[in-house]
């Protein structure tokens, strides 16, 4: 049965079929027909205050639920404003479908008002993009877009729709199947390789599981746990993989990388087998690649064949869906276990002891002071209140690293941050999207005073929709990470790193109609945080922290992962 409906309605029908409940967007001239159709449609439209934040909010929604986030913008400036968000989603493999309006087909190419070559501009910042030519092909394309965004290695997909396609009437027939002959998704994993991998896992003496964002995206945290426990292997989770294994799990060491823990990095550098799961050997993890994990053989599982061997050669490459591969891998490992029982058990014990020693030698403990609020202390307090259960959206910079170091996560989809692109301004809008998707959960946006000021317009969105987001500003008066690098590598010449003129938080929040407060005394910190959490509604807590604190440990750029600077230079007693 088919009936004659407008392109706008057809689009909404398809979104319903895909299970879309909410669109983050901003209307414009050419999307007017779509917004007219949305006016009395059950799909909820959340009006953000900038298109970039529409994409970040869709990412927050997607990262916190594992579902596809949807954002919408008009032609020209609306679409170009989406670009940062799209690249962000591309780098972190976040399933997002972006819908953009385009000028009427007849005007395309004429430099019409608000025309931009969205299709060309977004080629490199999407997993795939589409330009719809006729209303007849619209439903097919929308479903293809969702399929591509959510399957395989997820990513952003953009659909550019001219105004006349929204307006045209067409016969709508629900799409039942799509065919993308060139889009091959390898899910199963080669069984021979899996067997070899399982064998290698028992043959090694110093295994280390290196788990990344793929575990979260592949919804494989349960399977990861099974494997880790079967092998009793120490495990590190990357910045993108935090929560993949619960932070309190006895096998969890911590995060590796530039600001990872001593034990995690030493573990990587001394392991004789790296079991790399849904990771891409990013430079922020490996440090100088040539010096990375020199003793380790590598098992690399990833759904994207191009990730395997891109940075580090794998001894056993396995292309497949990490959830399915881990399932099989654990099964085979359990089968093989009796045959290897007792083998290397002494070596394994010594390995664990070594890791515990590293942990004790240089533990990750939050710095505290009695006279000022240390940023690490702030994170520890947030962690105490969260108890591993809150959703934490972070912005980019020092606070992001401290949050990653000191806040625990009991499960996946709780830690949202811009890892690959490192987009400042990500924290508040992504928290907004996550809160909308998880109305009953405690959602923190942990932001610096820099990134926060990129997101201030979204306070209006938060107020409008009564979103219960707890914004905690780690305010050190600087672009902290810039200041840290200028201190360490540029003779402390603080060039444009000072952020003067931060507004009064109480008045700022009050202007938007919710509560805010500035806290600068260490004795007030715990109660102020508790009050923010207890407030039924959004809260803006501005925490004045020690301004000159640096993030440690630190692997200097170009350094090997075991060449960590563990802390600030210590004062020396002169006799």
């Amino acid at each position: 049965m088919s009936n004659l409906i407008s392109g706008s309605k057809m689009l909404l029908e398809c979104l319903v079929q895909e299970g879309v409940e909410v669109i983050f967007g901003y209307p414009g001239g050419v999307t007017l027909p779509l917004y007219d159709a949305l006016y009395d449609h059950p799909i909820r439209h959340v009006l953000v205050r900038h298109e970039q934040n529409a994409c970040f909010a869709a990412e927050g929604y997607a990262k916190s639920t594992g579902r596809i986030g949807v954002c919408c913008a008009t032609s020209g400036p609306g679409a170009t404003n989406l670009v940062t968000g799209l690249v962000d989603a591309m780098m972190d493999s976040v399933p997002v479908v972006a819908l953009t309006g385009q000028v009427t087909s007849k005007l395309i190419g004429s430099d019409a008002f608000q025309e931009a070559d969205t299709f060309g501009i977004t080629r490199s910042c999407t997993k795939h993009n589409f330009m719809v030519k006729t209303v007849e092909e619209l439903p097919q394309i929308i479903h293809e877009a969702f399929y591509i965004a959510g399957s395989g290695r997820p990513g952003p997909v953009l659909v550019d729709i001219p105004k006349d396609v929204f307006q045209a009437q067409g016969h709508y027939e629900p799409v039942t199947s799509i065919h993308l002959p060139g889009y091959k998704v390898f899910t199963e994993g080669h069984s021979g390789q899996i067997r070899r991998a399982a064998q290698m896992m028992w043959e090694c003496e110093r295994p280390l599981v290196y788990a990344g964002g793929g575990i979260i995206l592949g919804k494989a945290s349960g399977e990861l746990r099974d494997l880790v426990e079967t092998l009793d292997a120490p495990t590190v989770c990357t910045l993108m993989g935090l929560g993949g294994l619960p932070s309190d799990h006895p096998n969890f060491i911590s995060m590796p990388g530039m600001h990872g823990s001593y034990a995690a990095n030493m573990g990587m550098m001394n392991a004789d087998l790296l079991i790399a799961l849904g990771v891409r050997f990013d430079d922020r993890v490996t440090g100088r690649l040539a010096a990375f994990a020199p003793h380790a053989r590598v098992i690399h599982v990833d759904i994207d064949p191009a990730e395997i061997g891109k940075n580090k050669t794998a001894d056993i490459p396995i292309v497949g869906d990490v959830k399915r591969v881990l399932n099989k891998l654990t099964k085979v490992a359990q089968e093989l276990k009796p045959a290897f029982s007792g083998k290397h058990s002494e070596a394994r014990k010594a390995w664990w002891k070594q890791i515990r020693d590293w942990k004790e030698e240089h533990p990750l403990t939050p710095t505290r002071s009695t006279t000022e609020i240390k940023p690490q202390h702030l994170m520890a307090e947030i962690d105490r209140i969260s108890g591993g259960n809150a959703i934490v959206a972070s912005d980019v910079g020092q606070h992001q690293m401290w949050a990653a170091q000191f806040i625990r996560f009991n499960g996946p989809n709780q830690w949202l941050n811009s890892g690959g692109l490192g987009s400042m301004g990500f924290g508040v809008p992504s928290a907004l999207g996550a809160q909308l998707a998880n109305p009953d959960k405690l959602v923190f946006a942990i932001v610096g005073d820099g990134g926060f000021q990129m997101s201030i317009p979204e306070l209006a969105t938060i107020a409008n929709y009564g979103l219960n987001v707890k914004i905690v500003i780690m305010n050190n008066g600087y672009l902290g990470m810039i200041r840290q690098w200028q201190e360490l590598f540029y003779n402390n010449r603080l060039s444009s790193a000072t952020l003067d003129g931060f507004p009064d938080a109480e008045m700022l929040a009050g202007a938007y109609g919710f509560k805010g407060r500035t806290v600068d005394k260490v004795e007030d910190l715990a109660s102020a945080l508790q009050a923010a959490v207890d407030e039924p509604g959004p809260y803006l807590l501005n925490v004045r922290v020690a301004p000159y604190e640096n993030v440690y440990p630190m692997v200097p750029a170009g350094g090997a992962a075991n060449e960590m600077v563990l802390g600030p230079p210590q004062p020396v007693e002169v006799a």
Partner: protein, 177 residues
């Protein structure tokens, strides 16, 4: 080192842009690129010659294969494959060297496609080295103007084309949500 890549791609809007864009984005250099429809008008065959570090060759193919519109990308550098290039060349001749030019053209298997009192237009095909030589030799006879097609290549092995099967939208939507 030069790598010869053969790409079978759907004739969809922007398909060429996606491939050339990928090369710029990943910092690979294109030496030449040719593209034309195949027997199936919905598909095009592209031959790309790229200047790529040997250890990146596999990565280049993988990245091209990741493009949704690409059905197959294959590395033909180490064969078995035949690669040919076409050269169209105009040469100014004097009355004295006309015969010599024609003799030389014959050696390279080149055809005369135009002849006038000023000179000739010649057409030649062959592998890249032979064409380089042809151009060099012709240059020694007088002023020339050259257009080269870039390599086209065909694999001598019948490679089975592996395609993704259709998927049902309803079940996929269920899986995702």
């Amino acid at each position: 080192m030069l790598q010869i890549i053969s790409v079978l791609v759907e004739n969809k809007p922007g398909a060429l842009m996606r491939i050339t864009g990928l090369f710029t984005q990943r910092n690979y250099n294109i030496e030449s690129l040719t593209v034309a429809r195949t027997l199936d008008p919905a598909l095009s065959r592209m031959t790309i010659v790229a200047d790529v570090e040997p250890k990146l060759r596999v990565q280049v193919i993988k990245q091209i294969n990741k493009l949704i519109n690409v059905l197959q990308a294959a590395d033909l550098t180490d064969g078995p494959a035949v690669a040919r290039e076409m050269v169209l060349l105009r040469i100014k001749s004097t009355m004295e060297n006309r015969t010599a030019i024609l003799k030389e053209a014959e050696i390279f298997g080149a055809r005369v496609v135009d002849s006038s009192v000023e000179g000739f237009a010649l057409e030649a095909t062959g592998d890249q080295e032979k064409m380089d030589e042809f151009v060099n030799v012709m240059r020694s006879y007088g002023e020339i103007q050259v257009t080269r097609s870039g390599l086209i290549a065909v694999s001598l092995e019948m490679k089975k084309l592996r395609l993704a099967p259709p998927v049902s939208t309803s079940t996929e939507a269920m899986v995702i949500s």
